[in-house]
Subunit: 384 residues, 2 copies
């Protein structure tokens, strides 16, 4: 196990009818900005529950944070925060709304050009307090300090992280996910799965408990994921997916272990360049990443094959191939395509994405820096 | 999954040489009281590391917090806290030092007779800030708000809990556990194991991830526990045990599931009455508790048998018996006796302990209140 420091103070309220608790979580005298996306929260009852919970607060609202939240949209919210002297942001939505709201929270207090937070690692010295009502289990953004924001002008998708934008609280009501479109359900499941793999499928450092926890998340998603489609009204299925997605990226399973994230780095470029959903890119890249890394990740792929997939690993090479096939099969089981050609994209993608990776300094990614630009190129060619 | 609220803000610094980090965790202007036990920290180097880390702080020390910390000893520390206007307590030791220090932290600010915190559920409105340097992985006290304190005069062992006594930070350096006596190593492993079982071996509420996490802790302890004796210098073994013990009782695996704790309730009375180590009592009671509850806990015992112990469960009744035997065998594998007679105790224990349980209102314990005084009596008789 590697040395680590870990803390996650986000207070989680999990379960049905928990949205009402935000009343007590936000100081009574706070001026609140409710941020959300395209308006689905108005048709599924979440908006009404939030309005009820804030009946004694002074609050404003900002709609229109898009999937892959844009710098341009977020900066409009920053103007509103400054104008109304907002001191609490309540993000109501999925990872995009949470991520965008984190940027708003940091940018509003930033001394300088806020884009620098993303492009130059500009130091965040303070941020507006943030709470989240989660409507789409996927990114874990509701209890971590990470954010990814896109620039529509430059086609860049960049990340920042700060404990200052960690949500103070998050409400997770699995019942609000019943109304999600299938595409978003699939995206969330795949996203949580790949987050876990990025922190698990590296190399052994003797961190047995972290491995077991990661395997627990993977097994739960494999078991419950397809049921979100075959039993769409099953509350327990939604609850298990929702809690798995949070635990996949709240820092716990990544504490004390090496981390990869090469699949994400390639995927981010694909979303920025071609507009694919984040999870769609991950499902395309991961199986080919596993194949390309089957020697450097050999031990962990075999452990995954045996413990998570229940495969017989006596023939190790065969087991590795089966594990890769089964992983792609899991994505298909939640109705997630796994090929560039499923999106009418072809070999041209490889050159384009590798150019972007190079531009962003992603020339040696993965847990050992072993994924070179050539490797990324080969992975993308194999993904057509 | 049941509804839950969960937060655990304790910041964990895990790994070798992390004790130095306390310098930055405690405010520079704080007046610190370093609390510890019998002095083993002076022979294993921990005390020196703490002294180095606090070289720029103003600090005092209070030694002599005993295993099963006593109200009487803690109140002496409370007097020192008041006299010196202490505003930060640094507990250096195992669960007993942490638990005692939590009581000191709460009692120093308590308006009234501090024993009422334990005996009458007296409300804690504030507490002195607390940090922990953990030397014995066992109770999880380093990152929870629970404390158990004994009254030497009345032979009572009572608990309280408050988020206000949750440690602000905890340093976990597995290397400091190399010098622990075998008895304490065994105690810690068994304690962490039974903490996990108390939150796992109940009944199914569909909380698949919590189950998988609990199973991960149990499997890790079964795998690594015996190695702490056969490979006493193996750092990774110590690290896995230490992290497992923290995760066993930091609130995470118990969030959203029913909890039992009947084994603990009986065990606490045994420690108060006969002076057995806490974990010694748990190892005596749990196998008989499982046997007595094999119908109410049937589903979960079978899940445990299959997933944790790898048993064939096609003959269910046989698998349950094997699981109970294997659990007792695990305790033996870490050199922990499992019978009252191992401590020269006999049938007389049953009447005595049941009297104490009745006195403390423990007449219907367990996850469904199914463990009556008669059941507790039978469990103790069967444990001779």
């Amino acid at each position: 196990m590697l040395n680590f420091s870990f803390a996650n103070p986000t207070k989680i309220h999990f379960g049905e009818q928990q949205i009402a608790l935000i009343k007590n979580e936000i100081p009574a005298d706070a001026k609140v900005l409710v941020t959300y996306g395209g308006g689905s929260i108005k048709s599924n009852g979440v908006y009404d529950q939030v309005v009820d919970a804030l009946s004694e607060h002074t609050w404003f609202e900002f709609a229109g944070i898009e999937p892959n939240p844009s710098y341009q949209t977020c900066m409009k919210a920053v103007a509103l925060v400054k104008e109304q002297h907002i001191d609490y942001i309540l993000a109501v939505g999925g990872g995009s709304v949470a991520d965008g709201s984190k940027f708003i929270a940091a940018a509003a207090n930033y001394d300088g050009e806020p884009w620098d937070i993303l492009s130059k690692g500009g130091e965040i010295k303070s941020a507006i307090a943030l709470g989240v009502v989660l409507t789409l289990p996927a990114t874990g953004s509701e209890s971590n300090g990470n954010s990814v924001v896109s620039n529509l002008d430059t086609h860049e998708k960049l990340a920042f992280a700060s404990p200052l934008v960690l949500p103070r609280f998050a409400v997770l009501d699995p019942a609000v996910t019943f109304s999600l479109p299938n595409r978003q359900v699939a995206n969330g499941i795949v996203d949580a799965f790949v987050h876990t793999m990025e922190q698990y499928l590296t190399y052994d450092v003797g961190a047995k408990l972290q491995d077991r926890f990661a395997e627990g998340i993977l097994m739960t998603l494999i078991e419950e994921g397809p049921k979100a489609f075959s039993e769409p009204d099953n509350y327990q299925v939604r609850a298990n997916i929702m809690w798995s997605a949070t635990m996949a990226l709240n820092g716990l399973i990544g504490a004390g272990v090496p981390q990869d994230w090469a699949t994400h780095m390639i995927g981010h470029e694909m979303t920025a360049m071609y507009g694919l959903d984040h999870a769609q890119t991950l499902a395309i890249v991961l199986p080919r990443m596993m194949a390309a890394q089957k020697e450097t990740k050999r031990g962990k792929i075999l452990q995954y094959a045996e413990r998570v997939l229940g495969l017989d690993i006596s023939d190790k090479d065969a087991a590795i191939e089966q594990a890769i096939t089964a992983t792609e099969g899991f994505f298909h089981s939640v109705n997630m395509p796994t090929r560039l050609s499923d999106y009418q994209l072809g070999e041209e993608v490889a050159d384009k994405i590798v150019q972007q990776l190079e531009r962003h300094g992603m020339t040696a990614i993965g847990e050992r820096g072993q994924v070179t630009l050539d490797t990324s190129h080969a992975i993308l060619l194999a993904s057509v």
